[in-house]
């Protein structure tokens, strides 16, 4: 039985871990940038520091964890194995980490050379990922909404990175492109087509599995990724043909589709069979609630465009959706994935002769809950700083850096304990085997 549990093709633990411990450092950097720049960062979404901080979060944190986690879970959720996962992990991790720094540096310092280098490096890195995953997924039939969702999310990833690279070059070389409209579209592809569709595809598996909820009903699960991608293609066409009403229609419909997914997930969570609410559950509740508010803002602006003229509207939307929605979803999942993977690897090391310690000993729920409260407090400060930047911008930056640093400490601590337990298990196993001789 134990041999059967040690799935030979599972990528080595080191493959995804490097992404998970690097990502929080980018969130710390974003917080420190806000601490350094203060209220200026809240002056407009187009401020160099604001663009830098946004991409530290989306590329440095979100993309980093998403790609790292996919290397790990593609075999589990889709039965697709990446060839040479460790090599791919090394290339992606380096490309993403350096690329995110170049991009943030390029925005912050207004350096065309850095922007071009970032576009080239991030474009090439994501291309490596897309080729590797496409090769793994070729021949895998879309037997579940998860597999179809993953394939469509990869199209979303291509969309956001291709648009991002073109815009970075345009900014660097002064090409005449309608950058504000394209920025919205780029954000739509990134947060809707890539992150949103990927989140749904993975949620179909992990929400019932880790939170013991009923499953997602089949029909909406099949439709959600397809609807989102179709809307983004339509939105792109509308940008190309300069059809403003159609752009707004697509944004409004995308918001409704997103709200439906978040509402359905909230309803499933209410029916969960797990008695105790753990940190992941709370993080997801926060993420779902904040996402619904953010998407209601998007819907409002689609119906009544003048709403977005209010100062701070887009910043508030971005903080709610990225800081309040996606980051909590991702951290909530990290808090399940890291202890679970550590436990599985320890279980395998014990070869059924030495039991692995419980997951709570690898990463205690109280540590995760406390960090979550710190994160929620930092988020409240960030949201309030949109209205009172002079007073709250710097405290919000400090709070965000501290909460993200705490996340790093929690994850790093789990890895340290995993290594310690691994050594203990090896010793006990050796003693048992010696005793049997």
């Amino acid at each position: 039985m134990q041999a059967l549990l040690s799935f030979e093709n599972t990528p080595p633990f080191a493959a995804p871990l490097r992404f998970f411990v690097t990502a929080p450092l980018f969130a710390v950097l974003a917080g420190l940038l806000l601490l350094l720049e203060g209220p200026a960062l809240f002056a407009s979404r187009w401020m160099p520091a604001t663009l830098a901080a946004t991409h530290l979060m989306t590329v440095g944190f979100m993309l980093q964890v998403m790609l790292g986690a996919l290397i790990q879970i593609l075999p589990v959720v889709a039965g697709a194995n990446l060839k040479r996962p460790l090599l791919i992990a090394t290339v992606l991790h380096l490309g993403l980490s350096i690329g995110a720094l170049l991009l943030a540096g390029g925005f912050y310092l207004g350096q065309p050379l850095l922007l071009s280098a970032a576009a080239l490096l991030l474009g090439a890195t994501v291309l490596v990922f897309l080729v590797a995953t496409t090769l793994a997924l070729i021949g895998v039939p879309s037997t579940s909404p998860t597999i179809r969702g993953l394939k469509l999310a990869l199209c979303g990833l291509f969309g956001v990175v291709a648009l991002g690279a073109v815009m970075a070059f345009a900014l660097a070389h002064g090409w005449a492109l309608p950058l504000p409209v394209l920025t919205d579209l780029h954000a739509g592809w990134g947060l809707g087509g890539w992150a949103g569709v990927l989140l749904a595809a993975i949620a179909y598996v992990v929400v019932p599995m880790f939170q013991l909820t009923p499953g997602y009903p089949a029909r909406p699960s099949w439709w959600f990724p397809l609807a989102m991608l179709t809307l983004l293609l339509l939105w792109s066409a509308a940008v190309f043909f300069d059809l403003n009403a159609l752009i707004r229609l697509c944004q409004g419909l995308a918001a409704i589709v997103g709200i439906a997914f978040a509402g359905l997930t909230l309803r499933l969570q209410q029916q969960r069979r797990r008695a105790r609410a753990d940190a992941t559950y709370h993080y997801w509740q926060l993420g779902l609630t904040a996402s619904i508010f953010a998407l209601l803002m998007l819907l409002t602006a689609a119906l009544w465009p003048a709403a977005s003229n209010f100062a701070g509207w887009t910043l508030l939307f971005g903080i709610l959706l990225v800081g309040g929605g996606f980051l909590p979803f991702i951290v909530g999942m990290l808090y399940k994935i890291v202890p679970f993977l550590a436990w599985t690897h320890l279980q395998n090391q014990g070869q059924a002769k030495v039991p692995a310690p419980s997951m709570n000993k690898i990463l205690a729920d109280t540590d995760m809950q406390r960090q979550m409260i710190a994160y929620a407090a930092a988020l409240v400060l960030l949201l309030a700083a949109v209205f009172f930047p002079d007073w709250l911008a710097r405290p919000a930056g400090l709070g965000f850096a501290l909460a993200s640093g705490w996340l790093w400490l929690n994850l790093f601590g789990a890895i340290r304990r995993y290594r310690q337990f691994g050594r203990d298990i090896q010793l006990k196993l050796a003693a048992k085997l010696a005793g049997n001789k």
């Binding site: 039985m1 093709n9 589990v76 039965g79 579940s144 009923p214 499953g215 997602y216």
Partner: protein, 75 residues
């Protein structure tokens, strides 16, 4: 628990991993010639599929409207 497809059913829909895997392997060991078993789960168990293939078992999976995967397995 019984099911129109077979009387041998593992309803693993509210079980935490690796329990569904363990329970399925246990039930497979008890099946007699010609008998089939059914695993109910809210996800497709790709790692289990892999082990089933390696051990020469056949399976058939069907997604129901409520999100349940009915996985029929036979030796």
């Amino acid at each position: 628990m019984s099911h129109p497809k077979t009387p041998h059913v593992v309803d693993a829909r509210f079980m935490e991993p690796p329990e569904p895997f363990v329970k399925t392997m246990e039930m497979l060991d008890t099946l007699k010639d010609g008998e089939k078993m059914l695993l109910l789960l809210y996800r497709e168990p790709h790692p289990l599929y892999k082990v089933l293939k390696q051990n020469g078992h056949a399976y058939e999976s069907e997604l129901m409207p409520d999100g349940t995967y009915e996985i029929l397995i036979w030796p």
